[in-house]
């Protein structure tokens, strides 16, 4: 069985990015990472390899994200200083990333999860197993979410 510390080192950056994509708040994302690894720690001995360990961990993480809605905290979207007409400036990497998070935050909950998993380069079959949709539905959903994200980027003039 995999060692907890190894699992944490391997998956925590990915889980943080997925949680950040969902919740768009650094501190809440860190809390979700912690909750995820508490569940992993508690259930690791009972994990029976019925699914891939990555699928299991992403399921826990995304379920924790979905559960966050019960705490009634709204997903953050912040105004960003893009396209200031009088002061043209090159956007920093951080600003671009914040813009990406904002675009994702405007999507529906499951779309936010799907696009985060797509951006983590997970295979479609694994995304289907995490979300609980059929392979066909997942493919259609992924296609639509990508389109929605592209539209948002275009609307903000981010496509060159």
């Amino acid at each position: 069985m995999a060692d907890f510390e190894e699992i944490y080192a391997q998956y925590s950056p990915q889980i943080f990015r997925v949680c950040m994509g969902y919740i768009n708040d650094k501190e809440q994302a860190k809390d979700l990472v912690q909750e995820t690894f508490i569940s992993v720690w508690k259930n690791l001995s009972g994990f029976r390899n019925e699914s891939k360990i990555s699928t299991w961990i992403f399921r826990i993480a995304t379920n924790n994200c979905l559960r966050a809605l019960e705490k009634s905290k709204r997903v953050m979207t912040t105004e960003l200083p893009f396209h200031l007409p009088d002061q043209p400036h090159e956007e920093t990497q951080e600003e671009k990333l914040a813009f990406l998070y904002n675009c994702i935050a405007e999507l529906e909950e499951t779309d936010r999860i799907i696009i985060s998993l797509v951006l983590e380069d997970l295979p479609q079959a694994e995304i289907a197993a995490i979300v609980g949709l059929s392979a066909v539905n997942t493919r259609v959903k992924i296609h639509r979410v990508k389109e929605k994200l592209a539209t948002k980027f275009k609307a903000h003039g981010q496509f060159e």
């Binding site: 907890f4 950056p13 990015r17 860190k30 399921r59 499951t110 609980g132």
Partner: protein
Amino acid sequence: MDNLNDIRALWLTAKTDGLPSSDEMLRTVKKFRNNRLRKKLTIIFVALFCAALEVATMFVYKSTMVTTRIGEALIIIACGILVFTNTRSMKRFIDLKDCSNKEFIEFLEQTRRNQVYYYKKTQVLGMGLSSLGLLLYLYETASISTVAFIIAYTIAITWTLILWLVIRPRSFKKQSRKLDETLKKLENISKQLN
């Protein structure tokens, strides 16, 4: 920024160096105790203790009036309802292992529906039985003298009225509003997955 690969490259620039190290995380998870289940366990333990106390009292103090026996039985049944509902709810959480987002949302929806049912029906039944049980149980002791009767029943009826007219409506209003909001959000996510 014209394709998914560019977006993915940007996505991967998120700084993750602020996360705790594996040693720190291990220390945190070892300290963690499951508060949600602990609360349920406490309720089960307290209810079992009350029921056991009531049974012990039945054997130690042999009552002569049927009202006392009925009162004791009603209080024990109320404790039993509390133990049963909380054990069933805890079991659902323990049984929830590896599940997809869709299954998890269905689980949450069912849990919240159970909670609504609990507040609307089970809690009323439990409180009703224990209130009636208390009023009947007191009768034998209180009937020793008029003063004892007045004092015991003034306190018991005041407490029952506060419980039914102040505590329960307040807690029910707050809880049911919260549950309704949560259920709406869950139903919305459920639709996204259908």
